[in-house]
């Protein structure tokens, strides 16, 4: 029995991780970062503005987080500082982020270092005036400390600056400079600079013997890179086969799914599998594409997947069809949020009208576009795959 998981974001990783418990082979096909580029390090379950951050998590999601070894999933709410100056709740965090929740009522030092785009005093001011900081009497104080070793480091991006701190000597220097700058605080808040591997933040905490962590990452920042490092390790340990390729289409033939790879000679390296999990992401990650209006009208649907697959699109419980005026999809009426509500019509992760074809993550219609939902849905798809695989064995 073979399973193909298309997509290497959180949903695909979780699906492959779960499906690898079965006896068959699991092949993960992915071509890049996709939605992990969006990953800020704050791991929400529901969209956070409508959430308390205290939702109970599926025990399999907890097990996935443990296996991934890059996430901190407490029993309750976490709280992160965003670069825009919010102290906002979230259900879990990338381990390198600073969890503010246990620091309520304490003094947090915000690094003030001369890097382009980083304004420590203004960030500290915004955090100090947040509702949470006021109600818990938590202090945020800018502390001047130069973390750059060379002039050019002031202008490089967060990803590159973070990568420097995977080096142990460099990390010790950072610890030393922070310790020299202040010991009067209970924790340090830094920008997203603590490595693109998953160890740097924990090492730094050890060196300083106090909570140290990052704000959220901008899209394409180090938090996403750390997820990718953890993912590669997890998929390797789970014994899955990872193929760095793009899928052109999946087609049903003789009760099996053929996964056609892009740019491969016809049939040469196509995969033939029993079940497929599509975890290709939503509109933001390019998994779902909004059609050009003329084409949309011809095909009756305004959306298609980035690969050929027998799926139907839904929004707000109805078909996501084109408007009748050749304008394509009616965003004026639906609002820009429609781009997050549209997705593949599915029941409990199984694509409606197709056998042994599953979807998980942002590609599914009407589900929250959050990291923990992607993990949950991936696990559910993995579980469904195994169920079907067993059925076909018996």
């Amino acid at each position: 029995m073979r399973v193909a998981v298309v997509g290497t974001g959180v949903a695909g990783t979780a699906a492959a991780w779960y499906a690898a418990r079965g006896e068959g082979e699991v092949v993960v096909v992915g071509s890049g970062s996709g939605s992990t580029a969006l990953y800020s390090g704050a791991l929400d379950w529901l969209p956070w503005e409508r959430s308390t951050g205290e939702e109970r998590l599926d025990h399999e999601v907890m097990a996935f987080a443990t296996a991934l070894d890059a996430w901190t999933v407490g029993s309750g709410r976490c709280r992160v500082a965003t670069r825009a100056g919010l102290a906002r709740p979230t259900r879990a965090i990338d381990t390198a982020l600073l969890n503010l929740e246990p620091l309520a009522g304490r003094h947090v030092a915000v690094v003030d270092t001369p890097r382009a785009g980083w304004d420590g005093p203004s960030l500290a001011g915004a955090l100090a005036e947040s509702d949470w900081a006021r109600s818990t009497r938590t202090a945020f104080v800018p502390v001047s400390v130069d973390l750059c070793a060379a002039e050019h480091e002031r202008d490089i991006g967060d990803y590159d600056f973070a990568a420097l701190h995977d080096d142990e000597d460099r990390l010790s220097t950072m610890a030393e400079r922070l310790r020299t700058a202040s010991t009067a605080h209970d924790a340090w808040l830094l920008g997203p600079w603590l490595g693109v591997s998953t160890e740097a933040a924990e090492q730094l905490r050890g060196l300083l013997d106090m909570p140290v962590g990052e704000t959220t990452s901008a899209p394409g920042g180090p938090a996403g890179a750390r997820f990718e490092a953890a993912r590669d390790r997890l998929l390797d340990e789970a014994g899955t086969r990872v193929m760095p390729a793009r899928v052109a289409a999946i087609e049903k033939a003789a009760n099996m799914w053929t996964v056609q790879l892009e740019n491969s000679k016809a049939g040469a390296s196509d995969l033939v599998v029993d079940a497929v999990v599509l975890a290709v992401g939503g509109v933001a990650a390019g998994g779902i594409v909004l059609d050009e209006p003329a084409r949309a009208f011809r095909d009756g649907s305004s959306f298609h997947l980035s690969l050929g697959a027998p799926v139907r699109f839904e929004i707000d419980g109805g078909d996501a069809d084109a408007s009748s005026t050749l304008h394509g999809f009616d965003l004026e009426r639906r609002g820009v949020g429609a781009l997050e509500r549209v997705g593949v019509a599915a029941d409990h992760g199984a694509v409606r009208g197709a056998e042994r074809l599953f979807v998980a993550g942002d590609v599914v219609a009407g589900r929250p576009r959050t990291v923990l939902e992607a993990a949950r849905a991936g696990i559910a798809a993995g579980r469904a795959v195994l169920g079907h695989t067993r059925e076909s064995i018996t």
Binding site: L38, S40, A42, P47, W48, E49, T82, R83, A84, G85, L86, R88, P114, A116, G117, D119, S122, G125, A126, E129, S130, T216, A218, P219, G282, V283, A284, G286, V289, L290, D291, E292, P293, T325, L326, H327, G328, D330, L331, E332, R333, R334, G335, V336, G337, L339, E340, R369
Partner: protein, 559 residues
């Protein structure tokens, strides 16, 4: 009676309502003549038609048919504007292909050629080059993306400008010559005496809620399409300041897609264009009667399709291009019943409301960007005559701020350690005053940070426009600097800009975050009608990113 008038005290000589090109132009003209002015703008400077025009100081060749006088005054004043604000102008060479399918195409080309012979007579007024008749081969060489069988065409010369910067130039100069100005401050009533003559205005600051009144001998309604509403604030019938509101939209695309501006025809035979403009490509425009909410005028999908279909027929590469935004504005065209919208003149008129019983109240009706200065001069003459001020107009000889001296952007870049493109854009917007922006960096090197990567805009410039150009919100900063109007739609810069604006205006960080969200929401609303495949991905990406950083309210996601 006369003794009483002499002793009567006024806060200012003239209250000007409206911060568009006419209001700011008049404020400057009056201030330069030593007349004391207070200007009130309900929204922001250049919020209406002035900031949403085609961005050209064109001579208006198409007006030659209806009214050559418009062409003459436009060309003459285009020349004046080039002298007082050389940094703000950029040459836009136009191509007008003549398609073979057209009945009598060759005759049409000859007629067009002759027509432009006539237009050439006006070109020297605005330092324009005479037109050139082109063969099909030459057209193809100049603009390889053009399709369709052509019999030839003509090339002619126009000038582009950023209308917002023009308004700000006038206003800043007015302020430096003693004028007062308040933005986001709406006039709630035009105060009148028992005899009907005006005595001032009552106003309310829409940001702070503060109210007050300012007395004046003269009140000028320069509110463009809002003019009838403004007239009614003085108890006049709205039709006392009647105009025909014509909505025009533009769509802009990421980067410059063509070498030349290209004239195209719509399905109903109207002439429209696609043109490289600053660092974008713009297509426009429409002209339809509009009676909706002037404060929330946006382009609709119908209007967008109408333009896109027309341009695609001659320049199909537009299909693959990424539309990143729209402008929509309402022209305050002089009222006339009957003619179709395009035939309506862009001529202007200073209305004296004495005939409506409101002595001292005037309305500036009509006008267009290219002739704003001459219109302002005419209105200022009326004001000056009434006040007994004999000073001559100086607005065509005295430079606008930043227009006094040429500055080399590359040497600026070298001095301040900026990227050449950042320095070039900064110099475009501020002329010689780019130096003042960069002085901030000498004092505080951190302000060298780039806040908006797309445009690009430096932190120093954000702070400068808050301090010197009356910007109070993220949207105001965007209007002045084009921050957040690139392909990313402000996703990466709005929050940081909000922090800076809040800091500069002594508002809380939360208010800065709210301002950022308001800008993002309003920019997204202006994009909804043109979102195609590529931009859809960017929009979804931005939604997720903004939610993570700032949080979204439902209003943002839903229509």
């Amino acid at each position: 009676m006369s003794a009483e008038i002499v002793t009567e005290r006024h806060d200012v000589d003239v209250v000007i309502i409206g911060g568009g090109v006419n209001g700011t132009g008049l404020a400057r003209d009056c201030a330069l003549r030593g007349i004391k002015v207070a200007l009130f703008e309900r929204n922001d400077i250049a919020f209406g038609a002035s900031g949403n025009s085609s961005g050209m100081i064109h001579g208006g060749p198409r007006y030659l048919v209806y009214d050559p006088n418009v062409t003459y005054t436009s060309c003459l004043d285009s020349g004046h504007i080039q002298r007082i604000a050389p940094h703000l102008l950029f040459r836009i060479p136009f191509l007008m292909p003549v398609h073979a399918q057209r009945t009598g195409a060759k005759v049409a080309l000859t007629l067009i050629d002759a027509f432009f012979d006539l237009y050439d007579k006006y070109q020297p007024l605005k330092r324009g080059k005479p037109h050139t008749r082109l063969t099909p081969e030459e057209l193809n060489e100049l603009e390889p993306g053009l399709v369709g069988s052509v019999v030839g065409g003509v090339a002619f010369d126009e000038w582009g400008i950023d209308g917002v910067r023009l308004c700000l130039g006038s206003l800043v100069d007015a302020i430096e010559n003693g004028a007062e100005a308040r933005v986001h401050c709406t006039v709630t009533e035009i105060l009148r005496k028992d005899d009907g003559s005006v005595k001032g205005v009552r106003w309310r600051d829409r940001t702070s809620g503060e109210t007050g009144s300012t007395t004046a001998k003269i009140v000028v309604n320069a509110t463009g399409a809002w003019a009838p509403i403004t007239a009614s604030l003085g108890g006049l019938e709205p039709k006392a300041a009647r105009l025909r509101p014509g909505k025009g939209i533009h769509i802009f695309y990421d980067r410059r897609l063509t070498n030349y501006a290209i004239v195209a025809r719509t399905i109903d035979g109207r002439q429209i264009f696609v043109m490289p403009w600053q660092n974008t490509t713009v297509i426009g425009t429409t002209d339809d009667d509009y009676y909706g909410d002037l404060d929330r005028c946006v382009a609709t999908a119908d209007e967008a399709r109408y333009l896109i279909q027309a341009v695609e027929r001659v320049f199909p590469a537009l299909k693959q291009a990424r539309a990143i935004g729209t402008w929509a504005g309402v022209r305050p065209t002089l009222y006339a019943w009957g003619p179709n919208e395009d035939a309506l003149s862009r001529e202007h008129e200073v209305l004296d409301h004495e005939k409506h019983g409101a002595d001292g109240l005037y309305s500036m009706i009509g006008g267009k960007l290219a002739s704003y200065r001459i219109f302002s001069e005419e209105a200022a003459d009326v004001v000056a005559r009434r006040l007994g001020n004999g000073e001559a107009c100086r607005t065509h000889t005295s430079s606008l701020p930043g227009g006094d001296e040429e500055v080399d952007p590359l040497s600026l870049a070298g001095e301040a350690g900026l990227e050449a493109v950042a320095a070039t854009r900064l110099e475009y917007r501020h002329g010689s005053r780019a130096r003042r922006v960069l002085e901030r960096i000498h004092r505080s090197p951190r302000e060298r940070a780039v806040v908006c990567e797309c445009e690009p805009v430096l932190e120093a410039e954000v702070r400068y426009v808050v301090e010197n150009e009356l910007a109070q919100t993220v949207e105001d900063v965007s209007r002045r600097t084009r921050l957040g109007l690139g392909a990313c739609g402000g996703m990466r810069c709005a929050a940081r800009c909000g922090q800076i604006v809040a800091d500069m205006t002594e508002r809380s960080p939360q208010q800065g975050q709210r301002m950022a969200l308001e800008f993002l929401e309003s920019a997204a609303r202006r994009r909804l009608s043109i979102i195609g495949a590529d931009q859809a991905r960017q929009e979804a990406f931005a939604l997720a990113s903004v939610r993570s950083e700032l949080g979204l309210d439902r209003r943002f996601e839903e229509p």
